[in-house]
Symmetry: C2
Subunit: 346 residues, 2 copies
């Protein structure tokens, strides 16, 4: 197919009988140069008649800004889309961006490219700045990009690195979940993590669990923790293993609803009932959590807000506002009480 013929500002100028500049002024609503109403109308009419649309590529060329934000996913696609967390972040992100006239370029890490191609996004000026989710501590390109002054905001945190970030309060949320169980009288509380511990979020949730235990005078037992890795399958395995320990825990905190789905199935297969035989609390509050059997009590994660806040932070950085230091925002979680937890009986 041939390239479609473009109508340029020049064409509009010609039809309206004015200069290209005048066209630019009226179309961009530059009021400084008080243009006569008559001319204004002529230009507007000509533009409408020719079905003129300004070419953003040319505009970017001269303004130097793209008005595009890059959303880069540092995790594998399967992992990124294991549940609705990232899609919801993306949603918040793009709504915040749209509100300020920005667009979002979606950049997952391509399977064939183990290395970070995303630095090109800013180096080659595809975007004005990037929001990166799932940062890794060994990501050299990320650190370099930041050092070189690129506008970067993280979703998730990197220890000992001063890049602005927004994250959920994982420690607080996990503490809240564990305290809730303790409040119900449970003393032997198992943990299934959402992921291996080299994921910051996972380590933080473990830490919150541990804090709650110790604050209540309960001892932290290695033997009561198992490791999930994002999937229901891993939750099934982890819970099966936890079900072997004696005495059996009376409650378990599964630090991801998706993983909890597998745990739920393992408990059913073992012939135990929830919450009668064992209480279960999740983390994330996936949209389906209320429709599981039993409806899952869990910690709500503000995924949409995470995206929204990250975009706002990046945008204010791009607009040259001083970012209030520390350039970090920790979003609060809250408990959603449903039916998977009961008072301890043993």
């Amino acid at each position: 197919m041939a390239t479609r013929k473009r109508v340029t500002a020049q064409d509009v100028a010609r039809l309206a009988g004015v200069s290209r500049t005048t066209v630019s002024f009226v179309l961009n609503n530059i009021t400084d140069m008080r243009i006569s109403e008559e001319t204004r109308q002529k230009v507007l009419e000509a533009a409408r008649q020719l079905n003129y649309h300004p070419d953003v590529v040319a505009r970017r060329m001269v303004t130097g800004r793209t008005r595009v934000l890059g959303f880069v996913l540092r995790q594998s696609p399967e992992q990124a889309f294991a549940d609705l967390f990232l899609p919801q972040v993306l949603n918040g992100l793009s709504q915040a961006a749209a509100r300020q006239g920005y667009q979002v370029l979606f950049e997952p890490i391509a399977p064939g490219h183990p290395n970070t191609m995303y630095a090109r996004l800013v180096n080659e000026r595809h975007v004005d700045g990037i929001i990166l989710s799932g940062p890794r501590f060994d990501d050299e390109d990320l650190l370099r990009l930041h050092r070189e002054g690129a506008a970067v905001v993280l979703i998730g945190r990197l220890p000992d690195v001063e890049i602005p970030y927004v994250d959920v309060d994982n420690v607080g949320g996990a503490r809240m979940a564990t305290e809730y169980l303790i409040g119900l009288g449970h003393r032997r509380i198992g943990l299934v993590t959402n992921a291996p511990l080299f994921y910051t979020a996972s380590a933080e949730r473990l830490s919150g669990y541990r804090q709650a235990l110790e604050a209540a005078g309960l001892s932290f037992e290695e033997g009561l923790v198992r490791y999930g890795d994002f999937t229901p399958q891993s939750g099934y395995q982890a819970m099966m293993s936890l079900l072997q320990v004696r005495p059996l825990p009376t409650a378990v905190f599964v630090a991801s609803d998706t993983v909890a789905l597998g745990a739920l199935q393992a408990i059913r297969h073992a012939g135990l009932r929830i919450p009668d035989d064992i209480s279960l609390i999740g983390f994330d509050d996936i949209p389906l959590a209320g429709f599981l059997d039993p409806p899952l009590t869990t910690i709500h994660l503000p995924a949409f807000n995470l995206g929204w806040e990250a975009a706002e932070m990046l945008l204010s950085r791009l607009h040259g506002e001083e970012i209030p230091s520390p350039a970090a925002r920790l979003l609060a979680t809250h408990l959603v009480e449903r039916e998977s937890c009961a008072h301890a009986r043993r």
Copy 2:
């Protein structure tokens, strides 16, 4: 923050002691102009040393192409992210795009903008073409865009419109689900749709259900169909209502797993068991389907492929290849047998 200083091809040329043109040639691997290996290396070295990155905006300006695909969501954000269907489409889309050096601009319909802003994407040259999911028959802008020669591919179909599309074989899938139930001996089979009937996919699934019934000599009964609207809540309501009819259907086809989640809960609340008292078959095969209680038998929807194929179709259109007519691709579904269906007993 000040704009970062850009290194231009001019700078590289200066350092390498050649002209700008030469730089362009070696960096773009133009072999026609057989450049001496020595010069080549000098240029490459200079570029590396200066950390030079070509400016895509300038390149787009002159080549006239952006190498960006727009993914526009014609449904509301909540609906778009009610489950993992669209995220998976996006994933397939962007992988197919990346493989050919294209990027994806994500454009959900903004809540504040009831009207279609997405036409700007192509008119203002943000992208080379768009993939639009969830087309509506009354979308004037879409029809105009297509008439004007813009490169558009639909995910989902529009009756009586010749825009290229890729879609899942909804009729076939629904027929397959219903036939499976019939094969199990069921004769009274209810239907809960995934959405209101003005959604093409919904109407098609109803049609497949009806075809299967009639082919088996069973009559289609209005009284056995209820309408979902994407959510588990709607499935709950629909199933509750279906549970009132007498004689009770022995099986029901819920044309969306997400909706089926609510249906499952309604059946539990009614004190009935699955599949002993009533068989249930879903549609979509969401990633969690195998971990529900009972694991849900359902029709698998190739979401990733849908995105992939749509991108491939758009790309070949952009590359000027004649699209094999009809410019449409219907992807096959398949049955995933799990544990929510049993032989009819009544």
